[in-house]
Amino acid sequence: MMFRIAVAGNPNSGKTCLFNQMTGSNQRVGNYPGVTVEFIKGYADFSEEKVEIIDLPGTYSLTAYSQEEIVARDFIVNERPDVIVNVVDASNLERNLYLTTQLLELHVPIIIALNMVDVAEKKGHTIDADKLSAILGIPVIPTVASRGKGLDKLEAACLQIIKNKTLPKAVTYSHELQHVLPELTEAVCRYPELCGNFPPRWAAVKLLEDDEVLLAKMKELESASVLEKELQAAKALIHAHSNEDSATAVVEARYGFASGAAKEVTHMSEVSKRMLTDHIDRIVCNRILGPVILCAVVYILFEFVFGCAEGNWIPTSFTFDSFSSPVGLLETFFEWLSSLVNTNIATPWLQSLLSDGIIGSVGSVMGFVPLIFFMFLFIAILEDSGYIARVAFIMDRVLRVFGLQGKSILAMIVSGGLGAGGCAVPGVMATRTLREEKDRLVTILVAPFMNCGAKMPVYAMLIAAFFAKSRGLMMFALWLISWALALCCAFFLRKFVVKGEQTPFVMELPVYHVPTIKGILMDTWHRTYMFIKKAATIILAISVIMWALMYYPRLDTAPMTKGIAAAAENLRQKTAATPYAVLFAGDELDKTIEEADNPGSIQSQEQLHKQRKAFVKQLELYKADENSKVPEAVVAFERFTKQKDVVVNNFAEQQLLHSFAGRLGKILTPLSEFAGFSWRENIALIGGFAAKEVVLGTMGTAYALGRDTVDKPEPLSKIIQHDPSWNKLRAFVFLIFIMAYAPCIVTLAAIKKETGKWRWALFSTAYSTTLAFILATIIYQIGLLFY
């Protein structure tokens, strides 16, 4: 059987760094059953011996304070790893040893990795590891995880302990505790179901500490009253002796043990140096400079993430004269894949399913990957360096008013809070830095209100059509409204949905340090990979459903084919006498159309090719200047292509109207009219569930019907502008609705992944769509009174 090692320690003790050094890239991400706490497992060879290493969540204590703490202690006693490696930050010995005493209480084999001894030395502290080992009765190995120092010794010590199965001595507490513990332990022993796999003495201590999990368990016992009486007696005795309540007495006793040990093994140089961290904090947390620096960091974060993902910096030729962006490259790849499908698969439904349904959706998910990757990369740097905690410190007061927390600001900014694009998918994922479950949930639920990049094209179109003169003012208003919406919703969600007291904000401001490249990259990769793995499957399924809704049922294509044939016949009659007639006969017509759209694309017979080239040149001349003298045939062809487009567009719209989505859009009209939306907007909005970009395309199709575009092909913004049913009010209402209604499915998948429950993804869709509709209706109805 493979040996199992669990790594435990305080947050910021270098625990994950040590874990990465021990396992290398051989890691896997998993979840604890029933909880959203993620854990990472890794594998390593210790002198020919294969071992499994589990990275437990970083905790300060093992009470029932947070899910992480419960998970960590349950894992240790129920899964019985062969040895616990307790990573102890040597530069912060006392508080780290506090956790160590709690691990010792669990009475399992433990080794201490005395980490960051270099930082302690910089601080002016030298620590005697052998002495510490003697006091605690367990091996203590000095390490510098970031540079891989001390790892061989640690591995050897692990094997040694596993072989000998050495258990640590019991912790000696204060006098008062030692006095009551034997009796209480004995009492607890009578209730094996209370302890489970935990040692009875531990259970007794936890009862004195008012541990919620154990108290709940005690209440379930049949003869709870007997034990309860004994517990009360013990508590009273402690209170009488120490004038403290028992929980404080227990913690004091542990800290007494920890600080005693720390003092005895630490040798301080004469002047304990004021550390670099204190100097940095003096600037970074400064009342005036702090917010300024925060603004700068947030701005850089934004520029970095979107600049790296969407900026053109990857050379696409060896001569370095053309560049593309990661997102652009992925888009090009999926377009290429899609065209491959289109040219090789003839069955229309299969072609559409593959290229629009599957490749389209997988492509759109993959398009998010660079964004997510760079966002995680930057956040990991901020987190590992220690800056995130300062962000929380500076912003907490402001965001607390709305039931959010200092760190929420990062998620909001990444989601598009700067008003110039962004994306809710990495935004939702950026809430990882929030340890408080409730604050995190509320942040996740309001981040999608921010104006993400996908909403921008729709905004741009409507603003161009109706608010062209006050473009900047309108964008500013939309930015302001999105923040107001998010903060108000946060306030009400916290009050009525995610109820409960505000979680305490007792947070360590860790020592700054330069993050290791390896750690950052591994962390980023893990998080990105988890997104791809989980989100891709969900998104694929929903996208196929969305595709089917917009594609089925099909209309008969015969009228369209007939219409095109009639136009072609007309063209042939008009040009029969011209030298170009041969280009419009039978199959040649298709080639001519393609050549006209894409000059130089056709490789046909030499003579025909020459003729076609000449024709296309004439056509281009005609397009450039309608008054130039050109052959009749060119004019006729141009008229033909426009007629053909009208036929195809009309069919596309009729098909859209005929589809399930179209019918749904029609059914919803009586309701949506309150907000001023016609069936065309409804279909577009339904399509927008898949991705907000879809809104524009679908509207384009929906507004193509019955429009005589033969003489004047118009962009959508012009069509809407001249449509008598549209006006500034409708445009504004539509803008607000787009901003507020349901997050796109990729965001939903991210919400599901981050909250662990479909319930929240569905809730997010329902409440934001309802809110959007109510807002739109109110604005529209009030607007009608004045407009």
Partner: protein, 75 residues
């Protein structure tokens, strides 16, 4: 006097924690226990939260939480 009544640069000693269970447990775990020494480093831009130095490390807590920590000045 509570922790929230202190000024930047003050050095105080914890007397008692008057908080309810979860918050108290958290404070105790983080080292805010009777007779431990606290140096008030600074207040955040809006005078909340407070940054303190305790047991050799930096800790931030809200003013509302600082109100629950009774302290006395260390001469």
């Amino acid at each position: 006097m509570t922790l929230s009544d202190t000024k930047e640069g003050d050095v105080v000693k914890v007397v008692k924690i008057k908080a309810s269970s979860a918050i108290r447990q958290r404070m105790l775990d983080m080292g805010i226990i009777p007779s431990s020494e606290i140096k008030v480093e600074r207040y955040a831009p809006l005078r909340d939260p407070i940054q303190i130095k305790i047991k050799g490390y930096s800790l931030a807590l809200r003013v509302s939480e600082g109100n629950m920590v009774e302290v006395e000045p260390l001469a």
